[in-house]
Structures are given as C-alpha cells and as structure tokens.
Symmetry: C2
Subunit: 648 residues, 2 copies
Amino acid sequence: MRENTARSSVLPVAPSRGRLRPLGLDEVRITGGFWAGRRRVNATATLDHCRDWMRRVGWIDNFRAAAEGRIHRDRRGREFSDSDVYKLLEAMSWAAATADASPLDRRIAALSDVIAPAQEPDGYLGTAFGRPGQQPRYSDLEWGHELYCYGHLVHAGVAQTRARGEGELAKTARRAADHVCATFGPGGVEGVCGHPGIETALVELARTTGEQRYLDQAALFVDRRGHGLLADGEFGRAYHQDDLPVRQATALRGHAVRALYLAAGAVDVAVETGDDDLLAAVVRQWEAAVARRTYLTGGMGSHHRDEAFGDDFVLPPDRAYAETCAGVASVMLSWRLLLATGEPRFADLAERTLFNVVATSPAEDGRAFFYANTLHRHRRGPAPAADAENPRAESGLRAPWFAVSCCPTNVARTLALLPAYLATADAQGLQLHQYADAEITTTLAGGQAVALRVRTDYPAGGSVSVRVDRAPDHPWTLSLRVPAWTQGSPALLVAPDGTRRTVGPGTATVTRLFRPGDEVRLDLPVAPRWIGADPRVDAVRGTVAVQRGPLVYCAESADLPDGRDVDAVRVDPSAEPQDGPDGTVVVDGALLAAPDGAAPWPYPPLGRAAAPVAAPAGIVLVPYHSWARRGPSTMRVWLPTAGGPQDA
Amino acid sequence: MRENTARSSVLPVAPSRGRLRPLGLDEVRITGGFWAGRRRVNATATLDHCRDWMRRVGWIDNFRAAAEGRIHRDRRGREFSDSDVYKLLEAMSWAAATADASPLDRRIAALSDVIAPAQEPDGYLGTAFGRPGQQPRYSDLEWGHELYCYGHLVHAGVAQTRARGEGELAKTARRAADHVCATFGPGGVEGVCGHPGIETALVELARTTGEQRYLDQAALFVDRRGHGLLADGEFGRAYHQDDLPVRQATALRGHAVRALYLAAGAVDVAVETGDDDLLAAVVRQWEAAVARRTYLTGGMGSHHRDEAFGDDFVLPPDRAYAETCAGVASVMLSWRLLLATGEPRFADLAERTLFNVVATSPAEDGRAFFYANTLHRHRRGPAPAADAENPRAESGLRAPWFAVSCCPTNVARTLALLPAYLATADAQGLQLHQYADAEITTTLAGGQAVALRVRTDYPAGGSVSVRVDRAPDHPWTLSLRVPAWTQGSPALLVAPDGTRRTVGPGTATVTRLFRPGDEVRLDLPVAPRWIGADPRVDAVRGTVAVQRGPLVYCAESADLPDGRDVDAVRVDPSAEPQDGPDGTVVVDGALLAAPDGAAPWPYPPLGRAAAPVAAPAGIVLVPYHSWARRGPSTMRVWLPTAGGPQDA
C-alpha cells in the first residue's frame, strides 16, 4: 500500500493509505441514466419521506422528550430509532454536497437543533437509556444499540464536515465520540456493542480530525470482539460475531448487517494501522461469503429468524431474507476492499449488489421500500397499507415505513453518496469501476488535471464511451473494469488509434498521452444468458436463472397469461434467452396446467405426479429490481427446467 | 355421531359422542416391539431425566418461591416454565396407569405438594405473574402463557383422576379451572391466551366432571379467537390464529403448536356441542395442511423465525423446523378427528408423525431430544454439551434440555399414553389403527368381552397377526387400517376359512362369529420405494426420497465412504430401492467428486459447473428416526437425482 493524498475532502471513505485513491463527490457527477433517476427521486422524495415518517412515529420527538426530561414516559420506537435520524442526516449531508444545498442545509440545521439539547454534559447521547425511569446507560450492551447509534451519529457528523464544513451536528458527534473513548477506552468499560457500526465511524472521524485516539478506540473494539464479552443468547455468540476474534474467523456469519459493518470497520482499522494480517482475514471472509453464502442478486443473509447468514450453500430463494441493509453494508465492505487492494472482484460484487439489492428496495416514487429481498414469492400480496407503519419485513410489496426502519435511510444515504463509488485514481492514472453517465474531474499524480465524460446506457446497453475533455501533458493509464459476468468478446476501442482489442474479465487499460477529444470505448456484450448454480446450492436444484449484463431477471405473474402464477413456469435452457421489448427478456418454455389443488398428499410414489405441460409459449422475464411494481404478484428468479423427476 | 359409552375411565381423550369409542390404558397394553422399547426408556429414564432437569434449572423451585413470597427475586426460566412441570405430571399419571404405579404415585404426590401451596385463594396459579414485584395477572395475554399453563395443569389433573383417582393435583387443577371460568367467563375478561391449550383441557375436565361450564368456557375461548382480541405484533395476527375465527379459516397457519392445539380444542368443543360446522371447518384446515404444508415425515411448521407454518408448498428440507411439539399436537388433532369421523386418513397421518417425528426426538437413552426435526443437515455438529441446557433449538444432535424445553415432556406424555392410540370400538366391533405387539381387551356393544392378541414386527415387517383369545357369542367386525402408503398387494388372511383376499388402502374388515384361537393376518408389503413430490414443493425439485412401510429413510454421512458428506449423494431412481442389512435400505447411486471448495462464485453460466461423478456404489439409507445417533453427521431425506441442469 502507499500513502493517499486525497485531492477531495468530500469523501465518504477517506483512507490514508491503499492501492487506490477515492474520488470525492465534488469530483464525480452522475449526469444521467439508471442511477441519476434514482438519485433524483432520492433527493426530491425519499429524504422528505423519511423525515416526515420519523416525525410521525415520534423518533425525532424522542430527542425533544429527552431534553425536556419526559422521555421515560413519552419515548416511541425501538431502542435504535435514534440511528435512523442520524442516517437521514448523513444522507442529507451527502446530498447537500451535490444538490441544491441551501434547503438541505436548513433541514440539517433544524434536525441538529433538536438533537443537540438531548446530549448530556459528558457527551452521552441516546434517548433509550440512562435517564430517570429508563434502564441505566450501557446496561444492555447486547441489545441496547447505544454504540451502534453513535456510529451513525459520527458518520453523519463526518459527512457534514466533509460536505459542508463542521456544523453543530458534527460537534455533537465529536462530543459523543469523545465520550465513547473516555468510557470504553483502556481502563474503562471492557465492552463492545451488540451491533457493530461504531468501528467504521471512529476510523472515519480519526481520518477527518487526524486524532489517533479515535482510531485506537476503533481498533480496540475490533480486537475485543470474539472473546465472549457479550452474553450468549438464543441465537448463539456468532449472531454478534462474538464467537471468534475477527482475525481468526474464516467466514462471515451471524446477523448479516452486524457481520458486514464489523468487517468494514476491520478493513478501516487494518488500512490505517498497516495490519495486513487483519486485512487478509477480512478478505478471506469476504471470499468465503461470496463463494458460498451469497445469493445471485448479491443478497446476503438468508435467515429470517435472526437476519443472519446461513450455512454454506444454504440459499433458499423463497426464504431469502437478503436484507436491504445487508446489501448496503456489503457494498460498503467491498468498496473498502477495492480501495485497499485494487482488485476488480470487489467492484464486481458491489455492482451486482447495487443493481439487484439496493436498486430493488425503493419504489419508483421513493416512498416505499423492500426490507427483505426474496428471490421467490409464492403468493400474491397482501399489499401493505399504503399509509401505515409496517410491523413486518416480509410484505409482498414495498412498504412506506417499518417498525424497524433501518432500510429506507440506508438506501437514502447510499444513493446520496453513490457517485463516490464510480472511479478512483492512483499513481498511474484513473480507474472506472461502475458505469453511468458521468463527468469526472480530478488531479492526477504529477499535479495536472484530468476531466472525463462517460456516456453509456448501462445496464441496458454494454457500450461505455469515455471522452477525455482535459488531460495532463504526460502519458497516463485509463483503466476500465471488465465485469466478471462478461461473456462473449468484450472489446476495447481506442478511437484515436482506431484500434480494437478483445479484453478479458478483470481490467482493460489504455496507457497513452491522451488529448482532449480522445475517446475510448468499452463494448460489453450484455446478451441475456442462462445461469446455473453450484450443485451444492441445494435449494435451486433443477432450476436455472437469467442474467443480462449485471441485471438478474425474474418471472413475474403480471407477465403470465390467464392470471397464472410463476410456479407454473417451466423453461427450456437449450435455447438461448432473447431480448424482448422494453428491457424484458424472453425465454423458451411452457406453463404447467393449472394445478387442481386437490393433491391429497404432496408426496406420491415417484412417477404418479404427472403434470401435463400446456402449449409452449415464450416466457417474459423482467429485471428483478423492477418486480412488484404492478401490484401484488408472484415472482421467481430461479426457473424450473422441464423434465425433472417430479414432472415425469 | 352417536353417544359413546366408554367402558374405561383411563382415557386421555373421552368424547361423549363420536363415530368411534376410544379404549383406555387399562384396555390396551403394548407388549413388545418398536414402541414398547421406547415406552420402557420413557418410564425408566425420561421421566426422571425431566424431573431432575427441572429441579436443576429451578422450574420446580419457582413454585416454592411463589408460596414463600420471594418469586419476584428468585424466579428462573421462561414465563411458561410451569407448564413443563405439569406436562411431566401428566406423563407420570398416564405412566402410573400401566407401569408399577407406587413409586410414580409418590413422585406425583411430592411434586403436587410443591405446586399446591403456590395457588392463591381464588384459584390463580402461576409463578410468572401477579405477585408483588411481578407484572399483574393477565397483563400480557399475548405472551404471558398463563392460560396455556392452566391447560397443561388441567390435563395433568384429568390424567391423575382417570388413572389413579382424584388427588391433590387434580383438586389444584380444578380450582384453577374454576378461577378461569370466573375470570374469563361471560361478563368477565373478554380475552384469550396467546397460546391455545386451555381449550382441550377444559373440555376434558367437563367430560370427567360432567360440569357444563368448563365446556362452555372452552367454547367461548374458541369463539373469541380470530377477532383481534390480541395485539398485533411482529409476526402478525395469524401467529396467534387471531386473524380469522376458527370456523372461517381454511388453513392451519401461524405458530404450528398454537394452531394445532387450538384445532384440537375446536374439535373437542364441536364434538361435545354437536357443532358440525365447526368440526367441518377443522377437517378442512387439516386437509389443507396435509395437502400443502406438511413434510414427508409428518412434520409441520417450516419457519424457524416464528415456529410457524409457511405458505403452501414452502417446505424447505434444510430449514424444516418441524418442532417435536407440533408433531405431538398433530397426533392429538388427528386422534380427535379419527374418533369423531372414523376415517382412516387421520390414523395414517398420526402413524407417519409418530414414527418420523415423535420417535425421532428422543435419544436411545431417553435423556436427550431433538426440538426441531430438520430433513437435511448440511454440516456436522457441533454436538451440544452433554450436560448443559441448550439455548437453541437448532443443534445438530439431540440435547438434554433447552431454555424452552417443551419437547421432552411432550414426548414423555405422548409415549406414556400411546397405547390409547392403537384401537377403538364401535357398535359393529373393534378397530385397529396402529400396529404393535399388544393385548387388547374390552367389552363390545351387547356387553360381552373381547380379547385380542396382536403380534407383528411392524414397522420392520408388514405382517400383523391378530389372534382372538376371547370373543362374544355373536358375530362382530374386526377392522384393520390398510395404510395409505401401501403399494403392491396388501392381503388379508382369515385363518379359520383359509381365505386370502387383496385389500385396498383404507380399512379391511372381517365380520364373523369369531371363536377363541381364530386368527386374522394382514400382510402389508413394506418393500422400500421411491417417493416423489408435487412439483409445487419447490425446495425438493430434482430430488427423490425413500420410504419403507411408514418409515421415511435418509442418507447419513456415517454411512458414506471416505468421510464424505451427504451433499455428494446422487441417486438413480430407475432401479428400485433394496432392503439392506439391519433395517437399512440400499439404492443405486453415485457420489460426486469431493468439491474443491474453490468455487469463486456459485452461479456460473449454465453448463460450466460440471461435476464428475465418482464410481457408482450403492448408497446406504437408514430410518430417519435413527439419525444422529452416531455422533455429528450430515443427513438428507431428499436425495438429488443425477443429471439435473446443475450437474450437466
């Protein structure tokens, strides 16, 4: 690794060292296409939606009640509800860096004014514990989420500082961080939080302030975990990642969001302290998770019961929890690993997860969300009430708000900071990791500016054109990720030369003395294709899936004739999938005759379950991220092939 | 239905009307074979094991602490721990009816002496609520389990009365029941318990005492449910069956044990009140559950999260919860439906569930239990600590005790009363429903005695011989259930005639003037056979299972060469399974080459996941109920066939 000298201050993650240097939100602008539309909805609808709901359900008022001494009577929401107010503030802060800032600045200031009076003189801040009539501070580290809430507060404070300069929010956050160091530092409480999240926050605060003690505290939290400091419980020590020290673990395990936040924090600590063993341990865990515990969508965490990773290869589509927040956390982890190592596989997973988990959660209007992201829905609806808090995470449609509503604000902050995930720089030049219409300007090593304009209709199309608008007067290297999903013959065209060469999955590079107007084009074949599964993924035996570019596709009942449900679909993978109209894909297949529902016992002797296949017709598939936009439906990603033993 | 005039008082379920008349524990004796061994272990090991554990974990002492006014400080265990003490007392009472009674009587009396002083003057009895320092009585009907605990207390009291005569336990139970009627009767608290169970108990108490008000109260509880009297919660109203009135519901849903206890109580109410609509509603729900929500083993309830039924056909083998208690409750329900209707399908499901769920739970020594009964275990162990309370229900091996330890005592009471499930009588004669070495004596309609001796090595063999030792001097009908699983040509031999006739699944009958020494033999082919699945059972696509007689079989790693795991198994269903040595079955098949574990991403483009198949060798299968007796292992019931798309 080498030292980073960031040119931008508007960085969600700002490691001081690493293989790649991140670019800030003032250096990368998304100008159109898939993500621009979602970011627009996020900025114009989701941020207000979240604030309005948190007013309505009392989570903002909790801070007033705490300041006014009536919180023991009036508190509403779960013990971690403060964190969602902070995540919204983080989202607003990043959005303020790129959007019309002044209205957002006013909203941030107003919210910060509500929060600050609830902070106690020693820096403690939390509406669920510690005041008269409440449980004592830190009396329930397993489930109290106090340090977890600080984590999101500190991330919000850092975002404010970097995007707009240190304001009241950032000062509040810093006082809280000082309180954490004083309370949980060496000689203090020998504890960790049941929910990681403080680790990334403290490292980022150290990066911003230059104060070593925040980093030391984060390292202490990472090192303390895995030694049984938390009480064992119904879900076992692995739930809290307290079964094994981070550097000894070989798999991501337990509660998925907890596992991924902790891993991200461990990477941050490893990078700042030069702890290559710790970094290697997290890379190993990431590899194991991707190879054996990740859905085709990038979704992580199959268990509903404990929102946790399952055993290796236990990835049932219809019981996929694949929490939206786990998707956000997975992208956070992959991004940190990409910066540390430069390896494109981390950007590959981030892309898969962004398009198929993060993009799936919000409704088109930005006012409803999936909390869990199943890969198979057997029955329609019922639709959640359009204007009510949803008590459960399993509804068949996106819901406006949840009793545990971590996901909406997590989506909001991810979309707000998304441009930061597109590109990086290093001593050799500039790297593009994610593709979108964008304008990128930065200063390359040597001190000269570079400006690029990216044009693409990705992910619908696979052609990515990069025009150089401004360039140093010396040669440098433009790198473009060639996604691991690429089949066929991806090619790189360098317009000034008129050269065209086939490139393999990984990274395609052009090194030259670029001049303004020069253009490089990456052509990625995005024809739809059949995807299989490792035979150890038991739950998808006898089925296949379709992917087109980075997008996973699904069958949805809305596209089937006669009100049929997706469980009737049988596909024929001997013919290639074809592009259909409007971003759909059409595959050969058939629909089983409607079951008569009269099976007296669903396990007949083999060969007696004959189910006649109706006249073949093409099956229309839609991008997974767009499912359930047409009302209650059934849906499946993994499609049975005809002729299995049950169809015989 | 017609009136029952029971000849025995030692009846676990004693309906006053119904198609069939149950026989008591003084009329049916199991003398050898599969169940006799398990009942012996239950009587000599499990009963003491449960008592010792409940002493150790403080659940018995809770009653002392309540009586002594220190319960708010000293209480241990979950809010429903009282119920396990009562279930043990019920088990002991039924065991006392058939075993050497005096030591059991002493133990029952000693435990009853601990419980009685904890009862308050108005009949309230519960160690978790209502005393100074505790939450008020009935302040948490959703989760408090107070009425549920009474249910098990009353069942224990009824068992004592019927088996040994009314003792202190029965008097305590009756005072509690009177308190329930006074508190929750018309004009009282308009509530139901979050966990059903009181309903069957009150009906049985009405049957024993002849007091209508207990039946009225049970009917009121059944009618009240489904109207949202319980608060909605994380798992939805269906969890508590409070989403729909019993008579409107078309499916068993929500928490499986709750659903099945409630359904059993509704049958009891329907039978006693002549409410055919209510009975028909439960039959409909039973049909729907069996056709669409039941595992091959008879296990019910797939969800771990809420211990609940899943959607139709969502029956993942590796996430099968299939709680032992749900198996017990399912048998309770089927038995009541069998008595009410006489239809053999209810005995079919009871048999399946007894052999493959109830018999699976206890270890050979009767001192460890499965709480959940998965159909697929992907990884070995870890073994639960042999001498520690197991916090979780998901261990890979049987555990001695659980934080929630409902299952051991539920298995114990079921094994203790098991002989009652074997046979019934009606105006025409006598019916055999379950097969075991047994001696059956009762008085037939007309007042004359009949005595039968059943000899069989069922389920290992399918030949069931019934010798008449004593018979009335008029013709009567002997009925034998021909299980629905029967294939081939089951035959009935009537020895005196020398006749042999083929019989179909359902019921085989012989009507004649039997004389002592006459013999009837039912020959059921028990050759192992392949079982398929309705194509809508998505999670077992591309796999087959094996059943032999009523026993479901499984592959277990202990029987595979070279330390291989069961996920390597591929079977060839084109050849019939064969009997192997020692009750095993051998099928044609192969083992996949050991995976190299290096899959970088488990979803390759189709056709690239080629997995070479090793030299074929027969695969040994063992009865599912016997798995995990040889240390940590992997296991699967549903076996992949070779040649699916993933193996291509």
